[in-house]
Structure formats: C-alpha cells, structure tokens
C-alpha cells in the first residue's frame, strides 16, 4: 500500500507562531521559548497534540508565541486549567508556563495541590524574582533586601520562597532547575520532564533585564549542581534546605507513576439506565 509521502520532521521553528513577543530585548523568557520549541521538536510531538497553558505575566505570554494549542488564562490559575484539560484529554501533552508571581504568589495553592495530584503535566516557572508585567514589584522569590519597588521600599524582609522545597514537601515527583542562559541544558531538562509520567516541575532562572538588571550576572553565578539526582525524598529534602538556588540540574526524580484521574468505568451505564433509577416502585 502506498500512503502519502512521510512529512519532513518538524523543526523547532515549526513550533513557533509568527506573533512577535512583547518582551524587552534581552529578557530571559526568549530562551525559554526556544528551549520549549526545541524540546518539542526533539520529541517530535505532533503540534496538535500539545497544549501550552499559562497564567498572566510576561512569562505567561509564551503560549501565543508557539504554534501548538494554547490557553492564556488568568493570573495564577494556569495549573487548574491544565488540570482540567489533562483529566479531560489524557492523550494530550500538556505544558504549563508562568512566572514566579503567577505560580508562587497568587497561584501558590494550585502549585501545592498540583504537585500532590501528580497528573502528567510539565510545569515551567520562569523565575525572575519580580513581577515583570506590572513593572517591578517584589515576588515571593525576591531577595529580602531588594528595595527597588515602591511597594516594599525597605525590602520585603522575608526569606525568599523556595519553590523546589515546597514542590518536594507537596509531593512532586520530578523537580529540576534550569537557566535561560543555558538553553541546551534547559532543553534537555524539558525533554526529560515532558517524558516523565507524572507532574514535573522545572524552576527556570530567567532574568528580567528591565527590573533586575543585576540578574545579567546570573551568567556567572548559576552553575550545575554538584550532586547527582536523587530519588530519595529524605535526601532531597535535606539538600533543598541547603540549596543556594543557583544550581541547575535534575534535583529529584521519584520513580512513582502518574495518577490517571479516571480509568474505564467499572460499571458503565447509559443515560436511560441512569434515569430509570428514579422510577418509583
């Protein structure tokens, strides 16, 4: 039998849309966009089988710049949207993107519960330690002594939120850290995360050159993690308490499998049978 000739494999650019990003020149989010499209191309995922869900923020604009299905939702609710989508459509590869404000401040509860729910989602947070979109306020990951925002003129005075430690405590099975300044490392992490059969969290250091110009120095300070990936929650918990939050790599990977929200029904019924149960007598 002769079918149509096989299509040429998709390249990374085939996963990009022609919408021009609103991002500032030099923004870390550009490299994350590239890494995502590279990873999708590498995995040769059919574009129509991929969905990218996001919240609101500079980082959350990402879906519109891709050529897969996308949902640019509301601030902080990307994970619930993705959860509903994945439960309803387990056949899709669902990626979730957003920022540190979106994911750890307003969206913090969903972050914890998504880790716990362990659906097969890949959650990519572009952490720039600031609310970029709203012009530079402190986020949960902002260092305590950052005084550039008029809302917190003396700094927040609060220890930075530790996303990886929270993810672990909440039960995530795949926890990694990437850096937009290392796009090929990030692409590899993403590829592994997408393949991981469960909730995969990737904390991506992605500088905001506009409100945190000093983050350009991350090029120097970010480094690969010295320890190898652990599968032991106790070890991971201990390490994450000592973590400098600048070490990239796959921190924790549990062999646990993803939960499937609903399998084939054990007791299928038709609508008529359902209605008949209300008959009297």
């Amino acid at each position: 039998m002769h079918g149509p000739p096989p299509l040429p494999p998709l390249k990374a650019k085939d996963y990009k849309s022609d919408v021009k990003p609103i991002w500032c020149a030099g923004c870390g989010h550009f490299a994350v966009l590239s890494a995502i499209t590279k990873s999708l191309a590498h995995l040769a995922l059919p574009r129509e089988q991929v969905a990218l869900v996001s919240g609101i923020g500079c980082s959350s604009r990402l879906p519109a710049y891709t050529h897969v299905y996308g949902f640019h939702g509301i601030h902080g609710r990307a994970l619930p949207i993705a959860t509903g989508l994945k439960v309803a459509r387990p056949d899709l590869t669902v990626l979730v993107t957003g920022g540190d404000g979106d994911g750890f401040s307003i969206g913090g509860n969903h972050f914890m519960h998504a880790c716990r729910r362990n659906l097969d989602l890949t959650y990519i947070v572009m952490d720039n330690e600031v609310y970029g979109m709203t012009k530079g306020q402190a986020s949960p990951t902002t260092p305590p002594d950052w005084t550039e925002s008029k809302l917190t003129p003396h700094g927040t005075g609060l220890p930075s939120f530790n996303p990886a430690a929270i993810a672990l405590a909440a039960g995530a099975g795949f926890i990694a850290r990437g850096f937009s300044g290392d796009p090929s490392g990030l692409t590899d992490l993403l590829t592994e995360a997408i393949q991981y059969p469960g909730f995969a969290f990737i904390h991506v250091l992605s500088p905001c050159v506009t409100f945190h110009p000093e983050q350009k120095a991350w090029k120097q300070t970010v480094h690969e993690q010295t320890q190898t990936t652990t599968a032991d929650r106790v070890v991971a918990a201990q390490r994450l308490q000592q973590d400098d939050r600048m070490a990239t790599g796959l921190i924790f990977r549990s062999p646990a499998n993803a939960r499937t929200e609903h399998a084939a029904p054990a007791h299928p019924a038709t609508l008529e049978q359902m209605a008949a149960r209300f008959l009297t007598g």
Partner: protein, 576 residues
C-alpha cells in the same frame, strides 16, 4: 380572606414529622414518600435540621396530592412529634392552623404551649411503649404505621416500601421495623381525623427524585462529562450524585482544592472539547467570578449550577433563599454577557440544567443555573421530566484554511477547534483579541469582539422555553426559580376565588427575551413580581430591562422560611 372557604383547594394533605437526632425522622420520611409514590399520588418532601452536624434535631415536611406538588401548603394538617427536643428551632417552619392535628408519643411529654392547640387537636399514642414490645423496635416505625393508617395508605404498600428501603440494615432490624409499622397501623383513633387519601384509578409512571439529583441528571443528559468542584452546602449532593454517574458514563469528577481551581479546571476541560460543569453555592460562586469572566472572554462553554442558600456571606448555609440573582446576572467585571437560567421546580431541574448545558455549548459561553436549597435538598414524586428540543452541540471548526478562532460570523458564534485538530492551532485568550485570538488593544477589535459576544446571545432564538406561562387574567404573578411553585398555586387560588390570575415563571433570566416577556404580561392589569430575597433583585432586574409597567408591585421576602401560596394571595388581595 380564609382560603378554606374562599379559595378552597383541599385535595392535598400536609404532614410533618419532627424529632431529635437519631429518632429516625429522615428514614420515616423516606419510606412515607416512596409509599405515597407507589400508592399513585404525587408529593413534595422538604427537610430541615438544626445547626448541629449530626445528632441534632430534624424535621421533614411532606405534602401529598393527586397532582404534582410544587410548594408546601400554608399549614400542616398532621404533625407527628417523636419528641420535642429543640422544637423551638422549627416552630417557625411548622405553621399550624385551627384544623391542624398534632400526634405525640405519650412518653414524650405534652405538646408545648407555644403551639396553642385546643385539646381536640392533640392526640397521644404510646409509640415508644409499643416499640419496646419488639426487640430493636423503634418509635418512629410505630409512628410511621400510625401515620400511614391515618392518611389512608395501604399497610402492604408501606411494608413493601420499608422492606426495600431498610433491607440493607439486615434482617433483624427489618423484621422488627415491619412489626412496629403494623402495630402503629393498628392504633387508629376512633374517628377519622383527616380525610384519607384516595388512590387514583390508573396510577402512572412516577419518579422519586431530589432537586439536586434532577440537576445532575439534566447535566449528564445535556452532555456534561467532566465536573470539578469543591464541596459546599447545599450543593454537595449534586456532586455526590454526579461523581459515580459521570464515571459510569466514562467521564469524571475532580474534587478541587477550592472554587478558583474548580472553575478553571472546567474551563480547561471544556477547551479540551469535553462539556463541563461545576456546582456550588453563594460563597463559591463569588470566588468563581473571575474564572467565569475568562470563560466569557475566551468563549469557552462552561456551566455552573448554583444552589442558593441564605446570604450574605456565610449566611444561613442550610436554608433557602433566592438572593444570588444579582451576583449571577452582574457579578463579572467588564462587559461580560452570559446566560443565567433558573430551575422552576425539582422536576424542572432536569430540563433547565440540560437546556443550560446545550445553550452554553451552542453559544460557547457561560451558563449559570440557579436552584436553591428548598428544591435542591427536597425530594418529590413527579411525572417523568422532559427534555429540551435543542440539539445543543458545539459548532466545531471545519474549514481549516486560515483558521480564525474568534471569526466574526453571521450568528456571531465562531467555529471552535479542539486540540487534536492539526489545522487549527490557536491560543485561547482572556486578553482582548482580534479574530485570530492575538491580543489586541485597538478600539476596533474591542468593539467587534464585544459586539460579537453580546450578539451571539441576544440574536439566538430561545423559543418558548424561556418561561412557563399559565393561566389567564388581569392579575399576573411574575416569578422565577423555586418561588414559581407557590406563585402558581396562589394564582390557582386567586382564579378560583374569582380573580383570574396568570403566572409567568421565567426560566431564562438572561438574556431576557424582551418581546416575549412583554407579550406574556400583555393584557394583564396588575403585575406582582414574586421572589424570595430581601432586595427585590428580580424586580429591579426587570425594571433595568424596562419590561415592567410602572405600577408593577414587588413581593420580595427573604428566607429562611419558604414562600407559601397564601402569603402571595394575601399580598394581592390587600392591593386590590
């Protein structure tokens, strides 16, 4: 005006049973209701309980008739008190007339003076004593037998029903229960104290269903296959019905971490092509408004079944009120047109919820269905419900070249692509966008998309299902939701008393079909808007829509007590 003389409508019998936690009030009611159904009559049964989670007192109120019962009556004919614990908490809900009879357990003390009954209205029976005669015997079962006898239900019917309902409790319990029922049945007083029920000539098929179950059935009949929700009184039973039944249909329910999550989960699932719903009550609906705005803007169909309770804030979670109307109609920021429907009865909860799902899917928008505690948590024996004619499927993307998710079309509904379709990738967005879905802040795109989102709803032909209209006359009762039952009965009483009255019970609250509404009230000279809330929310809404004559009146009374027909009749008579 006394209805018994002027408006007599005596073909119904109202019975209440009260008792402390563990006295078995609810089981008794359940058996009684199903017995009545098997006997061939219709009935409505509501339930009330104290603030305790368990072990508190409770009451059931039941009204039987030879035609569908949509509202409680003004008074009880018969009240069975298994005991008097905290009866004060219920007294307001148990209106007693000079013809009411109270049956009490002789071991449980006198009828409290607050009921103010004449001696002839009081009857004592040795319920506990008789119960004690059989091992595991229970006074409630003796009371059930006695009630059944007084009401004129055949002993066999009650026993068979008890057998079916109690069989999972084991043989011993069952046997002693049946014995108690028999003993109670034998305790008939000398003279008939109420007119016994008569069996209809040819009993037809009946359903025994609660309003929450009915909403659940309507949802799955409409096509709902995914539900995400967070428990809340009085909507939880709707979810409890849906969870196993969705599973049987190959769908599923996710218990979310909160309502922000649940509403966004159903948006995600619906984006994935699966019709989706959540159920909640006031506080939860408040939390969902931002998400619903996203569904409106991104044109993702979703349905919310909101089972109202007393408000504001935490309010009175276990009691009914129709006070979330404002929130449902207006509670989204920006200009965000959407559908709001109201279920007009327990039976109508099937139809309306199914219709809401189909409309939401057809119009790619949000539909909020308002029900309330008084019908959600009540049960009724009804005729089998009907279904709307609408096919109610989403318009899917078909022409693929140059796919525009938010294309301007004649009916303003744009073909929707579902992930998996290789030619129509797009990004759904809550930012204002152009036809492609790309964010746009231009005046033109904003105006076009605002127009589109409004026009697809305002231009749709909803047909005649927008309201239930009945009766002819000068007087017109305009109502919605659960208030419709009492209004309809009030209209009948008024009509019988020589004041012909029409009832317009609105199912489609928004967008209100203006021309049809005007036609429906045309020719009436006195209009009264009837609703159960404090702020006259529906009345104000109708005025906002400019469909009421300036002389139209408002009868708005908050919960927790149900609206009763005579209250409406009296209000009308006062105004005449």
């Amino acid at each position: 005006m006394d209805r018994k003389t002027d408006l007599s409508e005596t073909r119904s019998l109202s019975v209440a049973i009260i008792g402390s936690g563990g006295s078995g009030v609810v089981t008794t009611g359940k058996i009684l209701l199903e017995s009545i159904a098997r006997f061939g009559l219709y009935a409505l049964m509501t339930r009330s309980s104290g603030p305790q989670i368990r072990g508190g007192e409770s009451a059931i109120m039941l009204r039987v008739a030879d035609r569908p019962v949509a509202s409680l009556d003004d008074h009880f004919d018969l009240l069975l008190a298994l005991d008097w614990l905290n009866v004060d908490r219920f007294a307001d809900e148990l209106p007693i007339s000079t013809e009411s009879i109270i049956l009490r357990d002789s071991d449980q003390g006198e009828v409290p003076p607050r009921f103010n009954l004449s001696p002839e209205q009081q009857l004592a029976a040795p319920l506990s004593q008789l119960a004690a005669e059989s091992e595991n015997g229970r006074a409630n079962m003796v009371g059930l037998g006695l009630l059944a006898q007084l009401m004129g239900l055949p002993l066999e019917t009650v026993k068979e029903t008890a057998q079916d309902i109690l069989k999972r409790k084991g043989d011993a319990v069952l046997a002693s229960s049946l014995l108690c029922i028999e003993q109670g049945y034998g305790q008939a007083p000398e003279k008939k104290i109420v007119t016994p029920l008569t069996q209809p000539a040819s009993p037809t098929t009946r359903w025994n269903i609660s309003g929450n179950e009915a909403s659940g059935l309507g949802a799955v009949q409409g096509g709902i296959r995914f539900v995400a929700a967070y428990p809340i009184t009085p909507a939880s039973e709707l979810l409890e019905w849906l969870a196993p039944n969705l599973e049987r249909l190959g769908g599923g329910l996710v218990q979310a971490e909160d309502e922000l999550a649940s509403v966004n989960m159903i948006i995600g699932a619906s984006f994935g092509g699966v019709p989706s719903l959540t159920a909640t009550s006031g506080p939860g609906l408040s939390l969902m408004m931002e998400g619903l705005g996203l569904a409106v803007a991104s044109e993702t169909p979703v349905v919310v079944s909101n089972v109202m309770r007393g408000g504001p804030s935490t309010g009175i979670p276990t009691k009914s009120e129709q006070s979330d109307l404002n929130l449902a109609l207006y509670g989204l920021h920006g200009d965000a047109p959407h559908l709001v429907l109201s279920a007009l009865s327990i039976r109508d909860s099937v139809f309306t919820t199914e219709w809401a799902v189909k409309l939401a899917e057809t119009l790619q928008t949000v539909a909020i269905v308002l029900s309330d505690q008084s019908q959600g948590q009540a049960r009724a024996v009804i005729d089998p419900p009907t279904s709307p004619m609408l096919e109610g499927k989403r318009k899917l993307a078909v022409e693929h070249a140059d796919y525009r998710r938010y294309a301007l079309t004649e009916d303003a509904v744009s073909p929707m692509a579902i992930p998996g379709d290789a030619d129509c990738m797009y990004t759904a967005d809550g930012l204002e966008h152009n036809q492609l879905g790309t964010p746009s802040a231009t005046a033109t795109d904003h105006q076009l998309q605002l127009d589109k989102r409004r026009n697809k709803l305002s231009g749709f032909d909803y047909g005649d299902d927008w309201a239930d209209i009945g009766g002819e006359g000068d007087i017109c009762l305009i109502t919605w939701g659960s208030a419709s039952g009492a209004a309809r009965e009030a209209a009948e009483r008024l009509t019988r008393a020589g004041y012909p009255t029409r009832t317009v019970a609105v199912r489609l609250l928004s967008p209100l079909p203006i021309a049809r509404f005007s036609a429906a009230i045309e020719g009436t000279t006195h209009q009264l808007v009837v609703e159960q809330n404090h702020g006259a929310q529906f009345y104000d809404y109708l005025n906002a829509r400019k469909v009421l004559p300036p002389t139209a009146g408002s009868l708005a009374r908050p919960g927790p007590l149900p609206l009763r027909p005579q209250e409406i009749v009296n209000h009308i008579m006062k105004g005449l």
